[in-house]
């Protein structure tokens, strides 16, 4: 109902061949990215990978060295074009929210509106969208973290931007609040239908909110895909580990099957010779008896992770639903029960970057 008051024309973003250095240090290296109308793209990567710089460059707060950016069909930066940030019609929510401390909530939300549209109704409508109706006269410092977050969002979408950028939107919230706020924002983005790019280092956040996830590492986009594709078919062993728990087992391929320390594993594509295969912990099964020792048990409520030591080989993580059914020191057998999986040519060749421990 109220949401119809907000005129949002979903835009597109096209980034082509973007390079950017701070001094000698390259932060963005040949970035290409296309964001379709109404989609939410997550930029996921470890700190220092350049994801925030990419966001700030789209907003016009940084100038790239090379490359171009189009927003909704118009070039905003290119070899012979520069549109100042205030003319790009891009909304942005900052990591620290950057609320103006000297203005009340209404003053903050109405800040970007042209003088004629800076009416109480218009501001109240924007506040209703983020469920903050009636708080217009409060000062930002008197609001809770979650409320400040939503004021920042209301301020960004009030002028009706064609594109919305969010920089680590949830990193400043308590972990108890984060999941709840995330759901609220998720619902809001879906309902408003604004084209959105957001930056995060949290894989959960990227998967929950993102229609597509772009994984960044050292200034490059390593892979861009829908979350489920990314999880099942990561482009490199590093991506596999970055987006979830990953067992990477060496094996020997013969056609569409690889022999490994836990037995035969079906492969997505046929090959021959030495390979490394990705085995997600929840695709593994444990049966009592065998020569594999249960080293450690971690119980999470909804499921249990077993760390098991293969007789000839590494430690493997196995995820099983429900409460623990084995004890430390038990002998078990591990088997793969999932769909055909991805393989990588040789262990270690492309494991650039840290293999994050889950």
């Amino acid at each position: 109902m109220v949401r119809s008051m907000l005129s949002v024309e979903p835009g597109t973003i096209t980034v082509t061949g973007l390079d950017k250095s701070f001094g000698q240090h390259p932060v963005l290296r040949g970035i290409d990215l296309h964001v379709a109308p109404r989609t939410v793209v997550a930029l996921l990567g470890p700190s220092g990978c350049g994801k925030t710089t990419l966001l700030r460059t789209i907003a016009g707060l940084e100038r790239p060295d090379h490359g171009s950016i189009e927003v909704s069909g118009g070039v905003v930066v290119g070899p012979s074009a520069w549109v100042a940030p205030e003319r790009r019609r891009i909304g942005m929510v900052f990591q620290d929210w950057a609320l103006f401390p000297h203005l009340d909530v209404a003053g903050n939300v109405g800040y970007g509106l042209p003088r004629k549209q800076r009416t109480a109704e218009r501001i109240e409508a924007a506040l209703e969208i983020v469920d903050l109706g009636g708080l217009a006269k409060r000062m930002p410092g008197t609001l809770s973290g979650g409320q400040q977050q939503r004021v920042a969002l209301a301020r960004a979408i009030a002028p009706g931007p064609s594109v919305l950028l969010l920089d680590e939107p949830f990193s400043n919230l308590d972990s108890s609040l984060r999941v709840q706020v995330r759901s609220e924002i998720h619902q809001l983005l879906v309902e408003v239908g604004v084209t959105t790019v957001f930056v995060t280092h949290d894989q959960d956040e990227a998967f929950v909110l993102g229609d597509e996830v772009a994984v960044m590492f050292e200034g490059q986009i390593v892979q861009i895909a829908k979350p489920a594709d990314l999880y099942a078919h990561p482009a490199t062993p590093w991506v596999a580990g970055f987006v979830g728990d990953a067992n990477l087992l060496d094996g020997s391929a013969d056609g569409d099957v690889a022999r490994t320390a836990i037995g035969a594993v079906p492969l997505l594509t046929a090959t021959h010779g030495a390979v490394t295969v990705l085995l997600r912990p929840e695709e593994l099964r444990l049966t009592p008896g065998g020569d594999t020792i249960v080293e450690l048990i971690e119980y999470y409520g909804h499921d249990t992770i077993y760390l098991v030591q293969l007789a000839m080989g590494p430690l493997v993580r196995v995820r099983v639903g429900g409460a623990p059914q084995h004890r430390r020191g038990d002998l078990v057998t591990v088997a793969y029960a999932g769909p055909p999986t991805v393989w990588y040519p040789e262990r270690g060749v492309e494991t650039r970057g840290p293999r994050l421990s889950p």
């Binding site: 707060l61 950057a98 103006f100 401390p101 000297h102 800040y111 410092g141 400040q148 301020r155 002028p159």
Partner: protein, 553 residues
């Protein structure tokens, strides 16, 4: 001249005053051990009484006249005229200081101004020139028989537009007090969260609108704080207005005191000036309350962004250079010219060494006494808090709102009437220094005590040491940097202090400050040059250190 004086740390202590309630210790255990001993409480109360003595005695003295007489003195057209002139001067100096300092602060922190790092230091240095020295320099340059007229005489120019009166006082006070605003505003600009400016840009506001709608409102408290310092300084300034013959309150009080035997009138005028000071202070605190701001989020503040000035880069450089030429180079050049003239005329330099000796002695006594007096007050306010600590500390800040001339006047009366044994001795002058500069020493010592924290003392007590041993072996050695800083600061401020020294120094005890004033007012410019230069050199040392420290922060 006088009270806040051109002292570097005066700014810091005063800013601290406007942001009260620093760290309040909230420890529960061993509170008993922490409690300051009765000796400290008694000593603190004595110091508080001393700090309030001039004000109280002035009230007693004025009330001797009877309220009808007081009303007769206050409600006259003469006092109205004084109020109008002093108020106008304070407003004008404050406005022009803000107009100079805010752009200058922005240029030296946020832009690619050529030689920016050098300007950061240099633009504060005019504060190291006492206003009466500045006044002397401008009279020496532009006044009759001045340097400029000497140069222009061959071209047939026989007289210059007069510098005396309002224009001269306005110019001199602005040039040598605007750094108060510069320092407070610059600190605020460094604290700004630049992502707010980014946010404003993404919300469709250009650079200028962003400055007006986001930056300027947040600088307002610091501008107000700096403007307050300038206004209070102007109200209490004695040296510059007297030299430039501008009939402000301080000059009228001095003339009244010197010219007639009716000293009670001077006391009443002094009280009126104190009242004006209090009005300004309360106005500032009201303004501060109405612009109460909440820190929204302690987000990581990105490194200070630099705004390229583009084609305005060199024009801005030229403007800053011209300003520094007027505020620093020309005064120093003029003083040096007069020094050379004096040497040519065989003016004895021997006199200056006597002056330096006198100044050093008086200042050393002042610094020592002030630090000794500040110690119990600092201990009480940091370790005890409560009503007693607050009362004692509050009394000691009184020096900040009392013009130096008023304190001196009150002590003259006090010495002549109540304590003739003290009158015309070094002791009374030292007492005046304590009253005036207690806040400076207090600020420095208090800060170092806060850093020590009560845990070390508690440990010492648990190891079986009493409070005297703890004080001597733990607290005093650790607080030494703060004590030394406070002492150095008070020492240098005493060197430059003019009105109290003028009124209270024993007969035949000239100092650098009184010599500059005396020689200038009798137009012996050459005789004023050497002591003036000595004063500038002495005060620019701590100023430079302070600015370098500010930049590191």
């Amino acid at each position: 001249m006088g009270r806040p004086d051109a002292s570097p740390r005066g700014i810091l202590t005063n800013v601290k005053l406007t942001n009260p309630g620093g760290r309040r210790a909230s420890h529960t255990g061993l509170a008993r051990l922490r409690r300051a001993r009765p000796v400290m409480s008694v000593a603190g109360l004595v110091v508080a009484a001393v700090a309030l003595l001039p004000l109280i005695y002035l009230v007693i003295r004025a009330s001797d006249l009877g309220w009808d007489r007081v009303a007769d003195i206050v409600f006259t057209s003469r006092v109205q005229g004084l109020l109008w002139r002093t108020g106008t001067l304070a407003a004008a100096v404050t406005a022009s200081s803000v107009a100079i300092a805010v752009p200058l602060a922005w240029l030296t922190v946020r832009t690619d101004l050529p030689l920016r790092r050098l300007w950061v230091v240099v633009t504060v240095l005019p504060l190291a020139i006492p206003t009466y020295v500045g006044g002397f320099a401008f009279i020496g340059a532009l006044g009759p028989r001045g340097v400029l007229q000497d140069w222009l005489e061959p071209f047939g120019v026989n007289s210059l537009p007069s510098l005396y009166g309002f224009p001269g006082a306005w110019l001199v006070l602005t040039l040598f007090t605007y750094p108060y605003v510069l320092l407070t505003v610059r600190a605020a600009i460094r604290r700004l969260d630049s992502s707010q400016e980014d946010a404003s840009r993404t919300l469709g506001q250009g650079r200028w609108l962003t400055f007006r709608r986001v930056v300027l409102p947040q600088l307002r408290p610091s501008i107000t704080a700096g403007a307050l310092l300038v206004a209070l300084y102007t109200l209490s300034d004695f040296g510059a207005v007297s030299m430039l013959r501008f009939d402000s309150f301080t000059r009228a009080i001095f003339v009244q005191y010197r010219a007639s035997l009716d000293r009670s009138t001077a006391a009443v005028l002094g009280l009126v000036l104190v009242a004006v000071t209090l009005v300004v202070l309360s106005g500032e605190s009201a303004a501060r309350r109405s612009t109460a701001q909440h820190r929204v989020h302690s987000g990581s503040i990105r490194s200070t962004p630099v705004t390229p000035l583009g084609r305005w880069r060199w024009p801005a450089f030229a403007v800053v250079s011209v300003l520094m030429l007027i505020a620093l180079v020309i005064p120093l050049a003029v003083i040096t010219t007069w020094l050379v003239r004096g040497l040519d005329a065989r003016e004895p330099l021997r006199l200056t060494t006597t002056l330096i000796g006198n100044s050093l002695r008086a200042s050393a006594f002042g610094a020592l006494a002030t630090v000794v007096a500040a110690w119990p007050v600092a201990v009480l306010s940091v370790r005890r808090g409560g009503w007693l600590g607050r009362l004692v500390e509050g009394a000691c800040w009184a020096g900040h709102s009392l013009p130096g001339l008023v304190v001196a006047l009150s002590l003259v009366f006090f010495g002549a009437r109540v304590a003739p044994g003290l009158y015309q001795t070094q002791w009374l002058l030292t007492l005046a220094y304590v009253v005036l500069f207690l806040p400076q020493a207090l600020g420095a010592i208090r800060a170092s005590l806060l850093q020590i924290g009560p845990r070390l003392e508690e440990a010492s007590h648990l190891l079986g040491r009493g409070w005297i041993v703890t004080l001597w072996r733990i607290v005093a050695p650790l607080a030494r940097p703060g004590i030394a800083a406070g002492a150095a600061l008070v020492f240098l401020t005493c060197m430059k202090e003019l009105p109290a020294t003028l009124l209270l120094a024993p007969t035949g005890y000239p100092t650098l400050a009184t010599q500059v004033w005396g020689a200038t007012s009798e137009a012996f410019f050459a005789r004023a040059a050497a002591p003036a230069l000595a004063l500038v050199l002495l005060s620019s040392l701590p100023m430079t250190l302070l600015v370098l420290q500010e930049r590191d922060r």
